[in-house]
Point group: none
Chain length 407, copies 2
C-alpha cells in the first residue's frame, strides 16, 4: 500500500510551526507495513489544495490529511475533499447534537460557525474526536482510502492510535513490530560500540538514538504477523539485556518517573522533595506519573534562603557551605523527609540562570538524597540555559534515585 501525507495550514508555509504531525504519521506507517512515498505541506488555499489532492488521488492508495478541520473560514479541507469526491456536503444531525453537548459541558453555547464541522458526504464515515470539536473523515472509494485528521497534535495522535491505525491494521499484509529500550548514564558512542555485534542485523534491525531522556535502542522486526515478529526479536532482546543489564531503565512508553514510581510502590517507600533551582519541576515530574499520590508525600519549593531555613534547613549549614552546595542539598533532602514524614527525601539547589548566583555559575546544580538516613550527593555543571538546567537536573535526580533503589 502506497501512502501520501498532506499537511494543511498556512502557518506551516510561514514556518510558524514545524510539521510534527507529518513526522509522527511517517513514523507510524511502517508499523502497519505501509510505504510512504510522498509528504507535502500546503496552505489554506483552495486552488492549491485541490491540485495537491487530485495528484495524490491519482498516484497513492492511501491519503492522510492533517489540519484544516477547524470552524473558521480558513478551514477548507472538508469542502475540497467533497469536491475531489464529487459529492455534496450534508449536515449530520447526530454530530450536531454531540458537538452541542460538548459545548454545553463547558458551559458554552455552540457558535453557529462550528456547524460546518458536522458536515459529511455520502462516502464519509465520521471518526470521533473526544479531544476537540472536529470529527475526522474516513473515506473509501474507487479502491482508494482517504483520511482527514485534525491539526492539533493531541487530537491527531488520539484519532490515529484509537481509530485509524486499528482500521488500517486489518487491511495490511505485513507489519513491523518495534520495541525501544531506554538507557541512562551511557553516551551514544559507548552504546553504539557495546551494541556493535548486533547492529549489522537486517531483520530485526537495531538503531541507536540520542533522546532528551538518554539513549534509546530501537529493535524492529518485519513479519506477517505480530507473533512472528516477536519471535524474531526475542533472541536479540535477550542479548541486549545481557549486554546492558540495569543500564536499561525502561522500554517503549516508560518514563523515568513511572519507572522510579513503580520501584517505590514495590518497596513500599515514600518520597518528599525540597527544591530551589528546579522551582517545582521535580515535584511536577514525579506527579506526572498516575498513581504517584500513593508514594509522593509532598514537596517544598524554597526559592528564598529564608524559606529553606523556615522549612527546617539548619542556617549554620548554609552559613558554612553556601546555599548552593552539596551540604545544603543534603540538608534540604533531610528536611523534606522530616517535614513530610517520608522514607526518602530529595534536595536540589543550584543556579538555573541566566545569571550566576552566590558566586556560582549558572548551570551549577547540587542534588542530595536522604534514603532512610543514608545519604548521597551528586553535582553537575550544565550549559546555562534556564529551562534546560531545570529539565536535566530533574532527570539526574530521578536517575540517581533509581540507582539507589536498585542497589
Amino acid at each position: 500500500m502506497k501512502a501520501e501525507i498532506i499537511s494543511i495550514g498556512t502557518e506551516l508555509l510561514l514556518g510558524e510551526i514545524p510539521d510534527t504531525n507529518a513526522s509522527y504519521l511517517a513514523s507510524q506507517l511502517p508499523l502497519l507495513g505501509i510505504d510512504l512515498n510522498w509528504v507535502s505541506q500546503v496552505g489554506d488555499n483552495h486552488a492549491r489544495l485541490v491540485e495537491v489532492l487530485r495528484r495524490a488521488w491519482d498516484r497513492s492508495d492511501l491519503i492522510i490529511t492533517g489540519g484544516g478541520l477547524g470552524p473558521t473560514e480558513d478551514d477548507i479541507t472538508r469542502e475540497v475533499v467533497a469536491e475531489l469526491l464529487g459529492e455534496e456536503m450534508i449536515l449530520d444531525q447526530t454530530l450536531v447534537s454531540e458537538m452541542e453537548q460538548m459545548f454545553l459541558k463547558r458551559g458554552w453555547k455552540m457558535p453557529e460557525r462550528n456547524l460546518k464541522q458536522a458536515m459529511v458526504t455520502s462516502s464519509v464515515t465520521s471518526v470521533p474526536n473526544p479531544y476537540g470539536t472536529a470529527p475526522g473523515w474516513w473515506v473509501e472509494k474507487d479502491g482508494r482510502m482517504l483520511v482527514t485528521l485534525p491539526g492539533p497534535p493531541r487530537e491527531l495522535h488520539r484519532m490515529w492510535t484509537q481509530e485509524i491505525a486499528p482500521r488500517l491494521r486489518k487491511k495490511s499484509t505485513s507489519i513491523l513490530v518495534s520495541r525501544v529500550f531506554k538507557l541512562l548514564t551511557l553516551g551514544e558512542a559507548t552504546v553504539d560500540e557495546m551494541a556493535s555485534p548486533l547492529l549489522s542485523s537486517t531483520n530485526p534491525t537495531i538503531g541507536v538514538y540520542a533522546k532528551f531522556d538518554g539513549i534509546h535502542l530501537r529493535l524492529a522486526a518485519k513479519a506477517a504477523n505480530e507473533q512472528a515478529a516477536l519471535d524474531l526479536m526475542a533472541p536479540f532482546e535477550q542479548q541486549l539485556r545481557d549486554i546492558f543489564g540495569t543500564n536499561i531503565w525502561g522500554t517503549d512508553d516508560d518514563t523515568l518517573e513511572s519507572a522510579v514510581g513503580g520501584m517505590l510502590t514495590e518497596k513500599g517507600l515514600s518520597l518528599a522533595t525540597m527544591e530551589s533551582c528546579t522551582g517545582g519541576l521535580l515535584a511536577s515530574t514525579i506527579t506526572d506519573a498516575p498513581g504517584s499520590s500513593a508514594y509522593f508525600k509532598g514537596g517544598l519549593v524554597t526559592y528564598a534562603t529564608q524559606s529553606k531555613i523556615d522549612s527546617g534547613v539548619d542556617p549554620a549549614v548554609i552559613e558554612k557551605h553556601g546555599v548552593i552546595s552539596a551540604e545544603t542539598a543534603l540538608a534540604m533532602a533531610t528536611a523534606a523527609r522530616d517535614r513530610f514524614g517520608a522514607d526518602i527525601g530529595i534536595g536540589v539547589t543550584g543556579v538555573a540562570g541566566p545569571d550566576g548566583l552566590d558566586g556560582k555559575d549558572a548551570g551549577t546544580v547540587h542534588i542530595g538524597i536522604d534514603y532512610q538516613g543514608s545519604k548521597k550527593n551528586v553535582f553537575i555543571n550544565l550549559p546555562p540555559r534556564r529551562i534546560e538546567v531545570k529539565r536535566r537536573a530533574v532527570l539526574l535526580a530521578l536517575a540517581e534515585l533509581r540507582k539507589l533503589l536498585i542497589a
Copy 2:
C-alpha cells in the same frame, strides 16, 4: 516571487526526524517578501525526485532544495538537478583543491567518493560551505532560480544566512513584518467572530490560531520597507486592541508567566503557592521566568490531605467542604500567603486523573487566590487527561491572577 521548498531524504519519510529545515526556510522567506506556495519531502529516489523537481520548475520562480548533497550513493540531488537543467556535470578543479585542503587540515586524505561533491554544471555558481564538505549550487536559468542546500541544519542555516539570503534580498522588492497578539479566556470561534470585520483585509492580513497558551491573532503586513509595513499595521493593531482590550495578555514571544511576573515586579508584590493536583507545575511555570526569585517566595506541593493540614489549612474546612472544593482552594491560598509571608497566595486543588477522587471526576479543578486578604475562586472541568489537566489548570491560575493584577 513564488517559492517552493523540497526536502530530500528517506529518513524524513520514515519519520526519523521532523523536517526542521523546511520550517526554518519557510520562516525566513517572508522576511524577504517571497511567497512560499509549496513544500514537500521526497525520499532518495531518482524517479520521484525528478518528478517533484520538474513540477517545481514549471510552477515556481525559486526552488530551494535541502539534503542529498553528501558523498554516498544515496545522495542524488546534483545528478537530478543536472538532468532537469539538461546540462552535463563536470569536475570543478578549484573545488577539488579546496576540499582536499579541508580534509588535510583534519589530517585525512580525501576519499575518492567525495569527488562528486566538487561537480558543477554550466549554469551553476558554487556556494561555499565552511561547515561541511558539500558546497551548494546557485542556479539562474530561463528566468528561474534554483538553490541546493546541504541537509545538516548547521550547514544549511549558515549557507542561508551568509550566502543565499543576501543574494535574494537584492532581487526582492518588498518585505513582510508580523506581530502576534495572545489572548486567553476566549474560544477560537469567539475570537474569530469578534475579529471578523477585520479578517477580510488582504494587507495587512489577520489570522486566528489556537495554541496551547490560548488564541493567537497574527497581524502581518507586506510593504517596500519595515516602516511602511508598520504604518499599515498600526490602525489594525489599534482596532484589535479596542475589540479585545485586556483579553490580550501579550505579544510575540511573551509568556504568561513573564507577563504576570512583570506586573508583580511593577507593583512590588510577592507570590506564594500551595498546590495539590498540579503537583508543582504551577511553581515550576512561575519560576520558568528569569528573575522570578524577586517576587516568588516559595511553594508547597501538598499532595496528601494531612500535608495540607500540616501546612496551615484548617481541617474543619476540609471536613465540611471536602478536599476538592472552592473553600479548600481558598484556605490553601491563604495558608501559602501566611507561610511564606507573601502578598498573594494561590491554592490549587483538584483531580488530575486518570481516576476520580473523593467523589469528584478527574479533571475537576478549583483555584483560589488570596490577594492581600481579598479572595477569589474559579472552577473548571477539564478533559480527564492527567498532564493536560495540570497544564491547563496552571494556565488558568496565571490568567486569573493576571485579571486581578489588572483590575
